[in-house]
């Protein structure tokens, strides 16, 4: 381990011009990209094959809705807080996709993936009220009792499909 570190240091000493190595303290070694074009092509090709329509692979995606991130896949139900400006039966496309994955690959956006490449379609299946939560206030010897019923509105989405197009270089 130590000898490997020494080797890296000597490399960095040779390349004095790079500011990353000389200025900051870093325990990790520098990432080295080897044979980029060939490997990129291979990766893109294999992901495109995984994603293709005839494969019928189940994909999952991480989408940002309602102030948080959801890991969704085909047929999932998600319960969004609040009475959103949508009607029951409306079909929407969730556009803030942070990540898409299949059984054998994961694609991460920086921070978002292109919304044309990945599409997460959803339907509004229910709009309802949430189960009321009770807030009791009882002050001893003051003859004071309050009972608050707190209930909010909710919108339930069904994820229809998570699909991705072939990755382009």
């Amino acid at each position: 381990m130590l000898s490997r570190r020494l080797l890296i240091v000597s490399q960095s000493l040779l390349r004095r011009s790079s500011p990353l190595v000389t200025s900051s303290v870093s325990t990790s070694s520098e990432a080295q990209v080897i044979d980029t074009d060939r490997i990129q092509k291979e990766v893109f090709k294999s992901i495109s094959e995984e994603v293709a329509e005839n494969q019928r692979q189940r994909l999952f995606a991480v989408v940002y809705v309602n102030g948080r991130q959801w890991k969704v896949s085909d047929g999932d139900l998600i319960n969004l807080e609040g009475n959103l400006p949508l009607n029951v039966g409306d079909e929407i496309k969730l556009e803030k996709v942070l990540m898409v994955g299949g059984a054998n690959f994961s694609l991460f956006g920086r921070p978002l993936l292109d919304s044309n490449t990945v599409s997460v379609d959803a339907v509004v299946v229910e709009k309802k009220t949430t189960n009321p939560e009770l807030k009791y206030v009882h002050l001893n010897h003051h003859q004071t009792k309050f009972l608050n019923w707190k209930s909010d509105e909710a919108t339930v989405l069904r994820i229809k499909s998570v699909t991705a197009k072939a990755v382009q270089q």
Binding site: N79, V125, E126
Partner: protein, 189 residues
């Protein structure tokens, strides 16, 4: 109201059995009946009945609602049967029947027209499942696509053949820089 009771309702006997545990089922998972929305969305509300009194003051809002809005709503939702049922000296109520056999009823006593309209639309957008506390805000058909993570998922396979404890796997790993590493990386000029 017709003198013969309506016979067009789908009310199988097991509906009663489902209503039995209505009171003590406090929490449930998020679900929607009839796989709704998986291929297409269908409205789960089948029929809705508005009961009101023609004279009493408590059903003024309901009467106004029927007069002004109910026809338009009926036109927009051709799949839903809407009944307006005058009942003498009764408290007004809105009763909705859903595809899963459940019935929801809202007491509309002394409600204004706006409040009645709001509740009417709420009943239209419900799926018929009872409102309960949710165990989770999401429910999935397939829990994991890539397989669930376990503590041994990403362990190096070199560990399999080694007899433990071995020195190379017992090293303390830390992100902090040791003094030796610091000197090696920032050599004095």
């Amino acid at each position: 109201m017709p003198s013969v009771p309506r016979v067009d309702r789908l009310k199988p006997i097991y509906t009663a059995a489902k209503a039995l545990n209505f009171g003590w089922r406090f929490s449930d998972f998020l679900k929607i009946p009839a796989y709704n929305g998986i291929s297409r969305y269908t409205n789960q509300l089948h029929r809705i009945t508005v009961r009101f009194c023609k004279q009493s003051e408590s059903s003024v809002g309901v009467r106004n609602f029927i007069e002004n809005q109910i026809v338009e709503i009926g036109r927009k939702n051709p799949s839903v049967v809407i009944y307006a049922q005058p009942v003498r000296n009764s408290n007004p109520s809105i009763r909705a029947e859903y595809g899963n056999g459940r019935t929801l009823q809202i007491n509309a006593k002394n409600m204004t027209e706006t409040e009645v309209s709001k509740d009417f639309h709420l009943l239209f957008s419900r799926s018929g499942e009872p409102v309960v506390k949710l165990e989770s805000r999401q429910s999935a058909l397939c829990p994991s696509v890539q397989g669930q993570w376990t503590p041994i998922t990403w362990l190096p396979t070199a560990m399999n053949t080694e007899s433990l404890p071995a020195k190379q796997f017992s090293e303390h790993k830390s992100t902090a820089t040791s003094a030796t590493e610091y000197i090696l990386q920032n050599q004095p000029k």
